[in-house]
Each structure stands twice: as C-alpha cells, then as structure tokens.
C-alpha cells in the first residue's frame, strides 16, 4: 500500500515546527578570543577556554549578544531585560567541558513571529525563542562502514569549531497550513536566511553548516483537535530538503497511523540521497541534561537604551524592501509571486537600481539567469552574476554593442572566469557584427554551401531559413545579430513575407 500525498491530506492535518541553528559570523568565539575562520588546520584555533582546560573560564562575546538582539528584533521578539546561560550536561568527546554552555529557560529573545509568503498567501510563523549557545567540536570517525562512532577504529576531534557562537531560533508549532506545510516550512527557512543575510550576522551557508535545521513534524486526524506525536528530523541541510523532509515525514506517519500503529517520539535523520528519514536516537532513552544556571557567567542584562539603539540601526528588512520594490518597480502581484518563488526579487530591484529597465531586469533574472542557476543547482543569488553585471548587459544590448545571444555568451563567460562584463566582452572580443557587407558576404557563402535549403526557402518554406541562419552565425562566431541575418537571407532568397 502506497499512500499519495492527497490521501494523507484527506485524513490528516500536519503541524510542523523548526529549530534552526545559525553560526554567527563574529570574528571571535562565543566565550574566548579564538578566531572563527572556517577551514583552518585542525586544532589551530583553540585556547584554554575552548579546550575546557582545568581552571579556564568563559567570558561572553558582546558582539554575539548584539547580533542575537538584532535577530530577535528582526523577528519581532521581545528582548529579555535579564537572562542567563545554563549548562547542558552530557558526556561527548566533541564537548571539551562535557557540558554545553547554552541558554535554557531564560532565552535572550522571546515571543516573535515571521510572516512568510507562499504563492501570494501570507502565513505567520510564531517564534518562541532565540537563544545563544556554543558550537561543539567536530568528530571524524575513522574506519568502519558508517562513519558513525560505532564500529569506528578511532576518532579524531577538531576543536576549531568548539565555542563558535550559535544561535538557535525555535518556532512555535505551525498548524493550519494543510497541503502547503512543506512549502511553508521551506519559505520560512528561506525568509529567515534572507533576514540573517540582510542583518549581516552570518554567512548562512547551509552547505557549510552555518545554517542547520531540525524539522519537527506531527499529524493529527482531521477534526480531532489534538496534535499528534512529533518526530524531530535532523541533518536537513538545504532548502529543498526542508520541504522534502516535512513531506516524507507526513507520508511515513500517515502510513503508521492508517495501520493503527503509533508514531514514536524520536529523532530521525534525513537522507539527501533517498529523500526520506531514518530513525536516530530514541527520545525515550534520551539523556537527562541536568540543566542549571551557568555559575561562571554573570547574567546578560542588555540596557534598554542600547536595545533601542540597535533597533534604530537595523537595516531595511527583506519584507519591507520587497514591498517598497513592488511599489517602485510597479510590477503586478503575479509577477511579484513569480519573482519571489524564483528568489530574484532583490536581484531585480538591485538591477533596476543599477540602471536597467524593470522589464529587462525581470526577463534576465527569470529567464536565462534562473536557467543557469538551476543547471548549477544554486540559488540565483549565489550564481556569481551581480545585478550590476546584468544592468551593464542590458545597456550593451540597448546600444547595439551586443545581441541578446552575445549577451548570454557574456554571462557564460562571467560564470566561467569570475570577471565582470566589460572584462569578458573585451577578452572574448564579443561585439555584434554590424558591417552589412560582411554579413551579405557570409549569407552568399551560406546559400552557396547549402543549395537545398536555399531552394526550399525560395519555394516558400520560410522555416528552412534556420539552417542558413545557423551557418551564418557559425561563420561570424555568433557575433552577428540573428534577426538581421535572417532578414538578409530572406531578402536574397525572396522567400520573405
């Protein structure tokens, strides 16, 4: 028996929630002065504090507190006037002190929300808390089949990551999204990532682990009024995976419930390969973390005046920027949805700000550039083509320097070389051939080389001109304007309409 997604929705109502960990982009770690730079030689960015040596004590990174307050304010949270860190006690070799210094029942930011948009419909995701903690070291288990600790011959620990500031953003359970649950979950993480990027507090790279999601999902029978048992899915490391993880858990849980079984409250792991979840450690045998207030740190008590200063200095947030753009660009609501779904609203806006007409900017970003981004499996924003490049291309096409085809070649060259538009145009000699006599000569050569095609055109089969156009374009290395070439050929062969 295989359920369809529609079967699930007919009988069950999904509720999801997300716990998102974000590595802050501070220069130094949460509780010591060590560098946070990614990719250094193992164990070169450590000190007595982040190695948990006897006697070493933490001191809070004020910048991390400020960044967390920024995040809380951007998510419409209240900022606690007084809060503390706690110790989460458990033994694991990647934790030098065998406790993690984390906020527990007294988070810095509470009770916010984030509005997200899916196909023009607004969903409000409640934010329960935003709290600060420290990252652990990184284990590498060597030998054994699974890469997990069990069965490994030995394990290596890199403490460079130990103590990097981590922010955990926890949503309230989100009910009432029905069939849209997977998309709303994805849209939430997307919106959160955009906010974090706008705030400049993190590089939010899911592939490097600087933004990581745990997705909680439960199902309840439609109309039951009570929420079902939830599972927590870890290892969800891309936006697409967020959507897939919710969907696959909905299907898995529905099959269990249909069969009269119960859903176990447990941690599961998402597999990028199979697109489904596998059981991890069961919550029922989970550790008692013995939380208690961290006695080595004084409470964090942000001065309300300072909080207001931070609020006043917040950059324009993505939602406001989009509203402003929509107004100033004058695009339709439908276009806005389309651009939003493709993740190019800001890019279009910035391209327009760099001097391109709205329609041109939108066409480039929704067309060729989205296609390239899809080919490369990256977001348009990460493609490597800047809005300024696009505005420059639009200008070069407008003044007749480049054809559209040449402009696309220029994009390819930018992607290959990382150089800017003017540089690649110069390097590759990209320039529309506008010398008509050269084109006439090339057209004559193409007709002579392919008399069959020429005859067909003369006989009224205008479509056959395509082969001749192609030959001319090839002969001019793509630098001719295809429309002009077509016209010249049709003129010569008398097949034009």
């Amino acid at each position: 028996m295989t359920l369809t997604y529609e079967d699930v929705l007919g009988r069950y109502e999904p509720v999801f929630g997300l716990e998102t960990h974000v590595e802050l982009g501070t220069e130094s770690k949460m509780f010591c002065g060590c560098s946070t730079r990614f990719g250094a030689e193992p164990n070169t960015q450590t000190c007595p504090v982040c190695l948990g040596l006897p006697g070493a004590m933490p001191a809070v990174n004020a910048r991390a507190v400020e960044d967390t307050i920024k995040i809380g304010l951007a998510l419409n949270c209240s900022i606690a006037p007084w809060c503390r860190f706690a110790r989460k006690n458990y033994f694991y070799p990647d934790m030098p002190k065998n406790f993690q210094t984390s906020q527990y029942d007294e988070p810095l930011c509470v009770d916010g929300y984030l509005d997200v948009d899916v196909d023009g419909q607004n969903y409000r995701v409640g934010i329960e808390r935003v709290h600060m903690e420290e990252d652990t070291g990184k284990n590498t288990h060597v030998g054994g089949a699974t890469g997990r600790i069990h069965g490994a011959e030995y394990s290596l620990v890199d403490y460079n990551r130990a103590g990097i500031p981590l922010i955990e953003i926890v949503t309230r359970p989100v009910p009432g999204t029905g069939a849209r649950a997977p998309e709303v979950a994805r849209a939430y993480v997307t919106a959160l990532r955009d906010i974090l990027r706008t705030l400049g507090v993190s590089d939010v790279r899911m592939e490097q682990g600087s933004l990581r999601c745990d997705v909680n999902t439960s199902l309840s029978p439609v109309g039951s009024g009570a929420w079902g048992t939830r599972t927590e899915t870890k290892n969800v490391n891309s936006l697409r995976s967020v959507e897939r993880a919710v969907r696959s858990e909905m299907l898995r849980q529905a099959e269990l419930l249909d069969a009269g079984e119960r859903v176990r409250q447990e941690t599961r792991h998402f597999s990028e390969v199979s697109g489904d979840t596998r059981p991890g450690r069961s919550k029922e045998e989970a550790t008692d973390y013995r939380y208690f207030p961290e006695p080595d740190l004084v409470p964090v008590a942000p001065d309300p005046a300072w909080v207001e200063q931070i609020r006043a200095a917040l950059p324009e947030l993505p939602a406001a920027r989009r509203a402003r753009l929509r107004e100033s660009l004058g695009v339709s609501a439908e276009d806005m949805v389309q651009m939003s779904n493709a993740g190019v609203v800001d890019l279009v806006g910035e391209t327009v700000e760099a001097g391109a007409p709205v329609d041109e900017a939108r066409n480039w970003w929704l067309g060729y550039l989205t296609q390239k981004a899809n080919e490369r499996e990256v977001d348009a924003a990460d493609l490597g083509v800047a809005p300024g490049d696009v505005a420059r291309l639009v200008a070069l096409v407008a003044d007749g320097t480049l054809s559209v085809a040449l402009a696309r070649q220029a994009v390819d060259a930018v992607l290959e070389t990382g150089h800017d538009v003017d540089a690649v145009v110069a390097e590759r000699g990209l320039r529309k051939v506008s010398d008509t006599s050269a084109l006439e000569r090339a057209a004559d050569e193409a007709i002579a080389a392919d008399p069959d095609a020429a005859d067909k055109v003369r006989g009224g089969k205008a479509a056959a001109v395509g082969a001749l156009v192609g030959a001319v374009m090839k002969a001019t290395r793509g630098q001719a304007d295809a429309a002009a070439v077509k016209q010249i050929l049709l003129d010569k062969l008398g097949g034009g309409v």
Binding site: P48, L51, G52, L53, P54, G55, A56, M57, P58, A59, V60, R87, N89, F91, P93, P96, K97, N98, F99, I149, S155, V157, D288, R290, Y291, F292, P295, D296, L297, V298
Partner: protein
Amino acid sequence: MTELTALTAAGTAASIAAGDVSAVEVAQAHLDRIEAVDGRVHAFLHIDAEGALRAARDVDARRAAGQALGPLAGVPLAMKDVVVTQGLPTTAGSKILEGWLPPYDATISARVKAAGLVMLGKTNMDEFAMGSSTENSAYGPTHNPWDLSKIPGGSGGGSAAALAAYEAPLAIGTDTGGSIRQPAAVTGTVGAKPTYGGVSRYGLIALASSLDQAGPCARTVLDAALLHEVIGGHDPCDSTSIAQPVPPVVAAARRGANGDLKGVRVGVVRELAGGGDAAAYGGGGGYQAGVLASFDAAVHTLRELGAEVVEVGCPHFEYALAAYYLILPSECSSNLARFDSVRYGMRVGDDGTRSLEEVMSLTREAGFGPEVKRRIIIGTYALSSGYYDAYYGQAQKVRTLIARDFAAAFERADVLVSPTSPFVAFGIGERIEDPMAMYVNDLCTLPASLAGTPAISVPCGLSDGLPVGLQVMAPALADDRCYRVAAAFEAATEQFRPPAGVLA
C-alpha cells in the same frame, strides 16, 4: 629555622629593598627549611627550587639596575595546587591530573609573578578541594606543625602548614566553604576569604564556581593584606570578577595595628557562638569547650580595644550546611565532568578493545578518590530532572535567606565575629570514615561562603595546646573592615602566633 625564615613578608621585602639581604638568599633559606622539615610536614606536592631561584635572581637584578620593586618583591610564596601554573605540575591533589603540565597561568599566578614574588612550589590539599583535613589528598596527608599527629585543616592544609612550619611567609589558598579560614584557625595562621569576585578565579580549578574564591594566607594580618592587594582586582577573563578597586586592606591593617577599635560595632552571631546546635549534625561535632572559652576571651579583648559588642541573630544560618552540601556537589558534578581522559591527564583501559565510554568510566573510577565520587554522585542526583527544584533550587533560596540575615545583622554591626571552627585540630584518621563529622568543620565558615561576603581568620588562643581561630566577617566589598579588626586583635594577642621553635 633561620632568621630569614622567621621574618614576616613585610619585613623580608623591606630587607631586600634595603639591600640587607638578597632575594636569592631568602629563597635559598626557605628551600633549605623545606628540605629540612617537609619530609615530616608534607606541605608541598611539588617544589620548584630552580624556578624560585631564577625568580629571586631576577628580583636582585632588577634591584641592582635601580628599577622600582613592588611591596612584596622577592618574598617567597607557596601556591595551592588547585591554582594553574604554566609549566609546573598542577594536580589539585588528584591522581586524575598526575603529570599534567598546564600551558597557561591562572590570573593570580601571573599577578604574583609580575609582582616579583618567588614561588617555591605547589602545596598539598584535599582532592579538588573537597575536605577539611587534607586527608583526601591522593598524595597523602599533610601534618600539622603544632603536632604532627594532627590534621592541618583543609582543603588548604598544605598552604597553612607551610606557613606554620616557617617554610614560607606567604601562601595562596582557595576557599569554597572554609578552605582558607579553617586551616588558618587550626594552624595558628591568618587566612582571608575575599568578597566573592574580589580576586579572579581564572585558572582556579573549579570546585563550586559560585562559591570558590582565592585569597591570601600568611602569619600576620598585614602580610595577608599585602598579598591580597597583589592578587585582587578586576579580571576580564573572569566574568564574575568585580569591576571595582581592591578595598584598601593594607591601609586598614596598618590602622588596625594601633589597637584602637573605638566606635566599631562588633556583632556576636548567636547561632555561631555555641548557641546553635552543632551536635545536631551528628558525629559528636559540638563546639569544644576550649574553643568557646577562647572565643569568649577574644570578644572580651575586642571590647577592651574599644569595640561596642552586640549580639545578633541569624536564624537561617542553621540551614547553611544543608544548602552548601547541595549547591557544592551540584556544581562540582558539572565542573569535574571535563576530567574524562580525552584531552589531558590520566587515561585508563585504552587498549584498543574498549569503547570511549568504558575508557572514560575506568579513568574516572581509578582517578577520583571516594570523597570526590561521593560529591559527584550527590550532585548528579540533585540536578536530575524532577529533583532540581527540591534540592538545588531550594538550596539557592536558602542562600538568599542567609544573605538577608547578613544584611539585617550588618544594620546593627560593622563586623560579625564567631569561632572559625567548632574544634581544634583533630587526629589524622579520626574523622575520615565519617563524612558528616568532617562536614561540621565548616559550620562557622559556610554562611559567608554562601553569601559571598568577606571573612578572615586570625589566631585567638590555644585549647589543649592547639590553636583556635577567630573569624571576622564583613559586608561585601568591605574586606578592609575584616583586616582592621583582625589587625587590632592581633596586635593585642601576639602570643598566639606559631612559635618560631616549631620543628626546630
């Protein structure tokens, strides 16, 4: 025992500054004394003769070059082994850290070095500072120089014994529930627990973070004050350290030495002066008659010095012991979790057949002594889900009540006094089998620990030929009051210092 080892720290520093004696001669005299007597006392776990002489030569060179020297430059110091010292073994009295060489200095280690003090070595202590007799050291007990069959107090018995045996004129101690004050009392020396946050804890191997406080130990109140000013003051590496100047303890000690306490209101804490029921804690731990007699005489002396003596009641002090023995184990169960064999220290059973968890367990089983295990188990239990509120949470409330008792008492008195310990030094082995009998040693010292307020112990008499201590307590950040009163009392009662002839 030479003239040089009999000097006070202040006197030694003055002699060096005047050029009457070199720092190297002073250091060598103390190293010789250690060589002569420490086989019997066992105050030291590690002696750093080479480092001490090097530091002394440096002081002599700086003096010869005409550079200004600090007020304690060239004075030898014994460091409690719970304080991290770069490149010098630091074990906290535990097997689990045997062989560990710290790659960094505690803030107070760095401060004493920068001040030109000459570190002779590391002193013995109860394992991870858990105990009141130094019998819980994994390296064998320290003996009280007054009577080698007796305990020197604890946990800082090594530091106190080093002073009483004239092996050093100054020592660093740490005090979580009385570990500076009770050893000072039973060895006839002076020990001060500063206001919590007054001295950096960075580099102190933590027992209970919310209670631990390093402080000075000496044979005189002025010497303790001089050392207090060297190690005290704000440290950004310790977020609980107070961003305020060190209270003027040296000036207070000098002022007190004139013996005038007119206008000072001294409160006798009824619950700590035999009025409470120490025996209720079991193990025959009631106040010894000789201790109470010495204390009564001390109060009489204070009155003679001009102090106005009042009796104050602190009704919640009777819960201090119970609260302390929940808070301390809870915090220490977490603080000691890092000793897991992964990064440093002992490792047991890593023969390629055992899992990480097994190696951690075997190491902790072999590396920790019974008292440490007892407290880790109690603390783990007290913090467990479902028990937290009843134990740790409740104990923290008691702490607030004790602080309120202090606040009320300090409305009526400038300082409070009590015996430092209910009894004098007992025989080695006498109480070791009975943890409760051991815990009541701290009865009088615990309230100030829980409230984070300063207190000092100064010799106040002898009972059966063994020293008794007077505890002087003050409000937070008023450490100078402790020193003034203690110095005045000391000036009137010099006969209670350790006799120079001990172990001659």
